[in-house]
Chain length 140, copies 6
């Protein structure tokens, strides 16, 4: 098993707000992230695939196809967008946690079964999120 991680960047806006909470609760829990005008980040996405090394190519996956899949399913949808306007976040906050889970769900159904290992997301230089799927025992 060799692991390949492919990175890509996207720039997006978001803000944190839960309509089931009062304005005061939203402010207390989310602080400056609750500003309804929104703020944004350069997100760095990390997609980790696993696989046996194919003897003829020396690769664990078709990298061009992976790039196209990430482009079509993730970058085209979120790059230069406001995450709160995406239907997938209806009823959910646009936290890094929810973003990695969503990206996992989008990619897991678009790549060969069992090959997606982990989604990582750098939100700021001090914040990093990872998700390895519902059965994903981690890792470290």
């Amino acid at each position: 098993m060799v692991y390949l991680t492919r990175k890509a960047e996207f720039a997006a806006s978001h803000y944190y707000h839960n309509p089931d909470l009062t304005p005061e609760e939203n402010q207390r829990i989310f602080g400056k992230c609750n500003n309804p005008n929104g703020h944004g980040h350069n997100y760095t996405l990390e997609v980790t695939m696993r696989g046996e090394v194919a003897p003829d190519t020396g690769m664990v996956t078709d990298l061009d196809r992976l790039d196209r899949t990430v482009e079509e399913r993730v970058l085209r949808r979120f790059d230069h967008q406001h995450l709160n306007f995406d239907e997938a976040f209806a009823g959910k906050t646009t936290t890094g946690e929810n973003v990695v889970v969503l990206v996992w769900d989008l990619l897991e159904k678009a790549v060969p079964a069992g090959i997606l290992q982990k989604i990582g997301l750098v939100e700021t230089r001090d914040n990093y999120f990872e998700y390895a799927g519902p059965k994903g025992e981690r890792v470290a």
Copy 2:
């Protein structure tokens, strides 16, 4: 003359739109940056100060005071905000070019005369802006 550069980060939203242009022109010129829902970045601000080294402290400027000035004049104003909602950008697009010029103007009047050398701004990992003031002959 020694030069000190101090970095700070802020996360903000923006989008590009000039109301004097038609929607088609806005789209042609600004492309994906014209999306009215906005998108965002982690901006890295670089403030460069110059000065003689003071013999008693070994410093060119009071770093704590510089940090407070940057915090009060720039970070508090732009961090976790939408730049297009800031009054300083009325009639202006929120490009990196306009942001560095604005930050220069905000800081130049708040620090001792002649000590501000340059404002740098990293917008994405591939985009970097610099401004050294109206008389600022650069530099390379």
Copy 3:
């Protein structure tokens, strides 16, 4: 299970010396790190927490509280300090290995049970340490 990693920096001095060894052994084993005047590093600490994503906040942990805990238990104690003067290192060398284990012990008792996943520590651009606790089967 989603994993959140939070980074923080601290600057500290240290040197390696085991009083149970002869000066010659200390020099042979620790080399330039044995200089009793000490040297120092910018340490980057990485604290990884794991958890279910809370439906109301979309988060695995209260990030503000985590930041306060890291500040109170780790940064305030080690930032701009000489590690060899800290009582926790009595009888121990101040290696990256011992630092990550100590930070784990300090934080593990200060956060909700079972939520701390790993401590990482960047000591230089070429040296990185990780510890996932006494039961921590890694990982890779």
Copy 4:
């Protein structure tokens, strides 16, 4: 168990070509990487060792010896070389996948048994490969 990761860089050339495939297949599968003149990368190698912390040194391994081993077995062999000319790649493409497996094999037999945890390899700023050995259940 504490994990120590040591980084090192080497600059090398390579290109992808499988002589068992037709020129058209090589071009289709490997694209611009198939150019027989070759291209190159600054590779960042990451060697992760695991171990108990020795009470007298506070270390999991002898770092100087590890550095010498990496220098002798890997850097001296691949730095400023063309990977396709190395006999270990006879019949194999010089992909990141095959490089991490080869480096694992070279180092695993040169360090104490059971102490090598993982080999990582940064090929470009967007491509990262990892291998944890034939029994290496990962990880994330």
Copy 5:
């Protein structure tokens, strides 16, 4: 005057050899870089443009056009190539110094007069080259 720096990466092979020198001289001067099989790098190119900020766009230059120019004149020519095979290096070594001068010459004739400020080139994590044109008084 505002300065915009745009980065791009390319991966290329090269080696140093001057046919007017003896093999011994080549080896003495160029050392490991003289290996005729070549080695390679991930080069990071930095193109700095200067200009007044246009009131209607807030920009100093048309970034899309700049990207196309860099793609057509530089990346398409050097990415995934062996620099020694490029006709521009006939009779010249493929050092970072010669690469930045060549890229300046290629871009200076392809962009509006007077707008190109500097070419920067990161060759390895420890080597960086800059050229500001034949009249380019630097800078620091």
Copy 6:
């Protein structure tokens, strides 16, 4: 004129203290940097040389000789040392400002006349110092 910047790292301790000031003044001016036990940093040194490109080598300077000079004059003196114990800092604080000026003085007399352009020093991820000599008109 082409500019070559060469980077090198060293790890050192220091603290700020001016014996001509009272303990209260030292504490007020230098804050946490005044702790007499010291703290430390991984310093990244940047040495920028300028020159015409030599036609036979394609280089502005002999890089191996530069590396040896930096090693002998700077790294061997400061790496894994406590800066306050160095005689050059007698009567001076060990600030980044004083370090870049000292390194300039050490290297300027050791390299061919007129070839040293600038010394840069990264002290922390947010602090950067530059000095271009007593006649050094900068730059930005």
